[in-house]
């Protein structure tokens, strides 16, 4: 047997862990085990509790109400847009007619002056 092997035996001799090692292992064993992913998942899959029923009811009432209100507001806005467009067209037409009448009045005024 070589010296190296003797030295390896010396270098790799057993050592004891800290004195409270066994107590800590036992303390860990006494701790309640953390729930596994399956346990967490199965909780989600259980029948809904009262608070979830209440939340579902609230959502099922509030959501359609909010949707109806939003749709009504959209309709009012669209009608307003249409009215604005019509008003602009009317102003434009009235302006051009006024301009035409004014031109006619000026032309007739000039003819009277020549005569």
């Amino acid at each position: 047997m070589s010296n190296l092997e003797d030295e390896l035996r010396r270098a790799l001799r057993r050592e004891e862990p800290p004195a409270d090692f066994a107590d800590r292992v036992l303390a860990q064993l006494n701790q309640p085990a953390a729930p596994s992913w399956w346990e967490r998942f199965s909780v989600l899959m259980k029948p809904p509790r009262l608070q979830w029923v209440a939340v579902t009811l609230m959502v099922s009432i509030l959501l359609p109400t909010a949707a109806l209100r939003y749709r009504r507001e959209q309709q009012i806005r669209a009608e307003g847009e249409r009215a604005k467009e019509q008003l602009l067209i009317a102003v434009h037409v009235a302006g051009s007619r006024l301009h035409h009448a004014q031109r006619k009045v000026l032309e007739s005024g000039r003819m009277e002056t020549r005569l």
Binding site: L4, R10, L12, E16, V25, L26
Partner: protein, 183 residues
Amino acid sequence: MGGFAVRVQEVPERAAQVALPAFADIVREHQGMVYSLAWHFLHDRALAEEMAQEVFMELHRHLADIQSPEHLVFWLRKVASRRCIDQTRRRAFWPKFGLDEVPEPVAKTRSSDPMLSRTLAKLVASLPEKARAVVVLRYQEDLDPSDIAQVLDMPVGTVKSHLQRSLGMLRDKLARTTGEIAI
């Protein structure tokens, strides 16, 4: 041995709490072996302690499968070695102590020098994981190559070649590190 088997098999699977005093005795009896395997493998005391705790927690879960004191020792060595190898691979631990990072002894080394022992332990911790497991089981646990082959699930020839190569590597490195010593 038979008594042990009866004692362990009497423990109902669901009533592990009842067996805690007996389990505490098992932990105290084998903690040195498991902790030392982890320490010599990982060369990190906190990590070695954590790993040894995990091994005993796993033992507690599989206590009903243990058939004899010999089987218990075999099981502990196998699980500790496997966990050390897995840990090393997972954390890319190797080479935490590169062969070139091992400090040189300050004086001419002699046989059974504590400095030489520390240097050797660090050199062992720098070996590739399977070779390291073989060397630790051989020189800490004094196991034959055939026993090591069983613990590590590898052919005896592979164990022998790991041993031969590791010894050569350690001898060269040690000679280079210490300069004058020839062991």
